[in-house]
């Protein structure tokens, strides 16, 4: 079915940038974002006709798959990645553009499930019920993960604020 792969290619072309950006929000760094996007898209692309038929909205399905894959699978920083043009972490220059953003740093420190809940809520704009469905957990779990995440973000931000006293916080 050559048409199926042509169609998948067009889909990837249209959505790769958006998915990489989403992956960056989800994982906290561009290397892991690229790895995550590659892994999920390859798997979904290998069943493209099925995924389209079954989900109706492949993009939403892919974003949820990414959230789940991020939670369920270890990802460590890649030295290089086929998909994203990010500098090699071992050659020197740090690559984190949010180095001086306390909120970003606090997000990075969250366990992946809590972080995913925050991203699905504030990036995807999903409701608690939708998040529960997307992650295959109960609404109660979403609630507790979200409140843990928010509490920990607040604590870390407060600590960062104290640490930064005397100089300007951006």
């Amino acid at each position: 079915v050559p048409g199926e792969f042509t169609d998948f290619g067009q889909f990837v072309e249209a959505n790769l940038a958006g998915l990489l950006r989403y992956g960056h929000a989800l994982t906290g760094n561009p290397h892991d974002a690229a790895d995550l996007v590659q892994t999920v898209l390859e798997k979904i692309g290998s069943r493209w006709a099925h995924v389209q038929r079954k989900t109706g909205d492949p993009l939403a399905y892919i974003r949820r798959s990414m959230a789940n894959a991020h939670i369920s699978r270890w990802r460590r920083t890649r030295r290089e990645n086929l998909v994203a043009d990010v500098p090699d972490v071992r050659t020197g220059a740090p690559v984190d553009p949010f180095e001086h953003e306390p909120l970003w740093q606090a997000l990075r420190a969250l366990p992946p499930r809590q972080r995913a809940v925050i991203v699905l809520r504030y990036y995807d704009g999903l409701s608690e019920i939708e998040i529960a469905k997307a992650l295959g957990v109960t609404q109660g779990t979403v609630k507790s993960q979200a409140s843990k995440a928010i509490a920990s973000l607040r604590t870390k931000l407060a600590a960062a604020g104290e640490g930064a006293e005397g100089r300007e916080v951006t």
Partner: protein
């Protein structure tokens, strides 16, 4: 406690929305990335098709075959691989960007190379049973796996650094740790007399050492390390499984899992990680 330095209540909701709308979240795709993903999807489908129809013994053949599809697709479009780093990462024996290399260092037989320019988007057909016989032999004869050079890693540690150790146990074993990041599970760079070489480790507050990666080439007891071909990995570990098209996982004893990172073309292992099966760092 939830106040900004200025004393104003911290508008966390608004700040999160602002952050997720930030332009700096953009990650730039490499030229050819879309094509590479489509090719990767084709590889996975083909592996699945063959694995379900012909059984696991052919896995190694499939992997080699899939490298050919990738190279062939690129050649058919007269473009270079996703990035020049593909070449830098490959072994010196790599003949050129469009010619995948088999474990014996030879370029593939003409059959693949002269395929009439299959578009990358074309669905790959299942590997025919007449695939390169040399590779089949490798797949069915694990004792012929070529050993990669490097210090020994696995099945449950790297030198005296073992999976599951607490931070103080690690330090007592003659391994020095320097923090390299933040998080619930903390990453450290390690060095010292207790380990064959430097590397990085992630320590979970609950299960201890969760992931070990050596900086210099390291090799599993089965001889898999930097430079090994995917066929070698599957020959050495019949229960290996593929993650992304450039990552292969394999069981390492009862406590660990090897994580073999391949180069962007999927033709060589570039590094070996050892992961604790009980690791809980993914939440």
């Amino acid at each position: 406690v939830s106040q900004e330095p200025g004393g104003e209540p911290y508008e966390l909701d608004a700040e999160l929305s602002r952050l997720f709308g930030d332009d700096r979240l953009a990650v730039h795709a490499r030229p050819g990335a879309e094509r590479a993903i489509v090719a990767g999807a084709g590889r996975i489908r083909r592996r699945r098709t063959v694995a379900t129809s012909a059984g696991g013994a052919l896995t190694a053949v499939i992997l080699i075959g899939s490298g050919v599809v990738f190279g062939g697709a690129l050649a058919g479009h007269s473009i270079r691989p996703a990035d020049d780093s593909t070449l830098q990462l490959g072994s010196p024996r790599v003949a050129g960007p469009q010619l995948p290399v088999r474990p014996d260092g030879q370029v593939p037989p003409p059959r693949e190379r002269t395929t009439t320019a299959p578009p990358a988007a074309q669905v790959p057909t299942p590997e025919s049973p007449t695939s390169p016989p040399a590779v089949t032999a490798t797949a069915t004869a694990p004792e012929t796996v070529r050993r990669a050079a490097g210090t020994l890693i696995g099945p449950d540690g790297y030198g005296k650094l073992r999976l599951g150790m607490t931070m103080s146990q690690v330090q007592a074993a003659g391994v020095t740790l320097s923090p390299s990041g933040d998080g619930d599970c903390k990453p450290y760079d390690f060095a010292g007399d207790g380990v064959p070489g430097a590397g990085s480790v992630v320590i979970s507050p609950r299960v201890g050492v969760a992931l070990i990666t050596a900086d210099s080439p390291a090799t599993s007891p089965e001889g898999i390390g930097a430079g090994s071909a995917p066929a070698d990995v599957f020959a050495a570990y019949p229960r290996a499984r593929q993650g992304a098209s450039t990552v292969v996982y394999a069981p390492a004893g009862s406590s660990g899992t090897y994580r073999f990172q391949l180069d962007p073309s999927g033709s060589r292992v570039v590094d070996v990680g050892l992961e604790n099966v009980r690791q809980d760092c993914h939440g």
